[in-house]
């Protein structure tokens, strides 16, 4: 919480010439990933915080100019590695907008399902790790237990546990089979119990609440000026949600609410995320009930999707199509144009500014990374707080360093 200067009645603000500097990170258990803060302190009060980022910079955007639209999905997975399927949905959403591909209904439902599973997974990590950093270890274990079940879904649907690489231009890698749906149902059945466990452990945890309430307040005006989106903006009273306001995929078909709060403190950000998990659970149950049958990829006659192996080995059209897409200098053509497309990721607006030069490889893949944009909020809201609050605020912002640095 903000330092109360009345505790030192003799001292006028700004009259102390001596401040000291503390280096926080790049390796610190509470940053969870690699980021560094240089804190200028007056006693224990933070006068100034200078974030120093870039430790994980790996040139993902440069790689996007050398890998084709299908290959790059493995790289977007590694941006926000807490919710990889959401990154994939965002990437191919932009590509399909560029190429003007209308997905099949089943594929749109599948993308909603993997996206919302990823959202639950991301929020579980964020709320669980925030609790862990503030000393509530048990809630973290409950959250991670459920995340394991979500990883089981990824494994069953794609064969990869951590970075599924599941979407493709015009469809997905494999259709959902019964075993995948069974795994998803297991997540759905376990979720209410995990949520209520976390609720019991955290919502009345005096230490946890005292360390979050009134800490790191971000006003609505500041949130808008600092380009905040997603749960962080919604905790400050901005009710914008791309799923409602600029609907994509089949989100208009679902009933769900957009939770928001007006306090703008770390507790509000935590609470909005908890509530969003319940809304995602609601969306998932509707999507599973309504999941349509039919083809999952757009027809191979449209020359966009890679045909599945059965078609490649057993039909002439499939074999030709496969070679057309895999051979260099063949395949589909992209328009010589550029497009910005965004979706609502767990952290906020995840967009791609995509410039195409006519080939199957993008000319420019600019990511709009929510973590990067939200981390610049940190020096503004940490001012006049104590060192211990650094951890509370960092946890509530959910900074994923791989996405921050790309």
């Amino acid at each position: 919480m903000p330092a109360n200067l009345l505790d030192e009645p003799e001292v006028e603000i700004g009259s102390k010439p001596f401040t000291w500097t503390l280096n926080f990170g790049p390796q610190h258990p509470a940053t969870h990933t690699t980021l560094r803060l240089i804190l200028e302190l007056d006693g224990e009060r933070i006068v100034r915080a200078i974030p120093d980022i870039g430790y994980l910079h790996s040139g993902f955007e440069k790689l996007g100019e050398h890998l084709n639209f299908n290959q790059y999905v493995t790289i977007v997975d590694r941006k926000n590695y807490i919710s990889p399927p959401m990154n994939e949905v965002a990437w191919h959403h932009a590509v399909e907008k560029l190429l003007d591909i209308e997905l099949t209904p089943r594929c749109q439902y599948i993308r909603v399902i993997i996206g919302e599973l990823a959202r639950i997974s991301d929020h579980l990590l964020c709320t669980g790790a925030a609790a862990l950093d503030l000393g509530a270890f048990t809630a973290f274990l409950f959250a991670f237990n459920l995340r394991e079940l979500i990883y089981d879904v990824y494994e069953e649907m794609s064969g990869y546990r951590f970075h599924p690489g599941f979407t493709r231009v015009g469809g997905v890698l494999y259709d959902f089979n019964d075993r995948v749906l069974q795994r998803i149902r297991r997540v759905m059945e376990s979720f209410p119990q995990v949520y209520s466990d976390m609720e019991k452990l955290l919502f009345r945890n005096r230490i946890f609440l005292d360390r979050l309430r009134g800490v790191g307040v971000l006003t609505k005006e500041a949130a808008i000026s600092l380009s905040c989106t997603g749960p962080i903006a919604r905790a400050s009273g901005v009710t914008y949600d791309l799923r409602k306001d600029e609907p994509y995929l089949v989100y208009p078909e679902f009933n769900f609410d957009v939770p928001y709060m007006t306090e703008g403190d770390s507790f509000a950000r935590f609470f909005v995320r908890m509530e969003e998990m319940r809304q995602s659970h609601l969306i998932l149950s509707q999507a599973l009930a309504k999941l349509p049958t039919g083809p999952v990829n757009v027809p191979i006659a449209e020359k966009f999707p890679l045909p599945d192996k059965g078609t490649v080995y057993n039909s002439m059209e499939g074999l030709i199509q496969h070679f057309e897409l895999i051979m260099p200098n063949r395949g589909f053509e992209s328009p010589k144009n550029e497009v910005y497309a965004a979706i609502e990721s767990p952290n906020g607006e995840l967009g791609y500014y995509l410039v195409a030069d006519g080939s199957q490889t993008a000319w420019r893949t600019r990511t709009r990374p929510p973590s990067f944009i939200h981390f610049q909020v940190f020096p503004h809201i940490i001012k006049d707080h104590l060192i211990a609050d650094v951890v509370a605020i960092l946890g509530s912002l959910n900074i994923i360093a791989a996405e921050l640095d790309r």
Binding site: K97, E338, V339
Partner: protein, 177 residues
């Protein structure tokens, strides 16, 4: 009647009307692709127009700021670099892409930080990756690359695997530390 139907079909009608009222009709280049409306501005009028868009057209949120290097792009005739600003109106969910071009050898643009604080790091990233300087930026330093780095890695004339900088970074030995 006709204006009402226009507004219903074209989400950008009100914005374009305001721009035409303030700056005159058809002053800025425009192009449409899918649901994106792009407006091309000369750098000299950038801040002026962005201010009007923010204050009068209620584009409160700067959703995204980035740059592209078009060196070697097939059939390219405009300036080498283009910086894009994606603005979002939180009330009507209207989006507008503003594009402005800057050319070698000294690419320079006015900073948008006085309008949106959120432009701070995004402009630093553009500077870091493309070497485009933003005049009036409060703290224009490299953000992702180390300070010793001299090249601009997202430029098209910079190779994917680098120029061996990684092996030539200054090293701190145990004796010096």
């Amino acid at each position: 009647m006709s204006t009402a139907t226009n507004q219903a079909t074209d989400p950008h009608a009100a914005t374009l009307a305001t721009l035409a009222r303030v700056f005159g009709d058809g002053v800025f280049g425009m192009s449409h692709f899918r649901d994106n409306l792009r407006l091309f501005l000369p750098p000299s009028r950038l801040i002026e127009v962005l201010t009007v868009l923010r204050d009068e057209c209620r584009f409160a949120l700067l959703a995204e700021l980035g740059a592209t290097d078009y060196l070697g792009y097939p059939g390219w005739t405009r300036a080498r670099f283009e910086v894009h600003y994606v603005l979002l109106n939180l009330d009507t969910a209207e989006r507008l892409v503003i594009k402005t071009g800057v050319d070698d050898p000294k690419p320079e643009l006015p900073s948008a930080v006085p309008l949106w604080l959120g432009a701070d790091w995004m402009e630093r990233e553009v500077f870091d990756m493309y070497g485009i300087t933003f005049t009036g930026h409060p703290d224009l330093r490299r953000i992702l690359m180390p300070d010793e780095f001299t090249a601009f890695p997202l430029r098209k004339d910079y190779p994917l695997r680098g120029r061996g900088e990684r092996h030539n970074f200054p090293r701190l030995t145990r004796e010096e530390s």
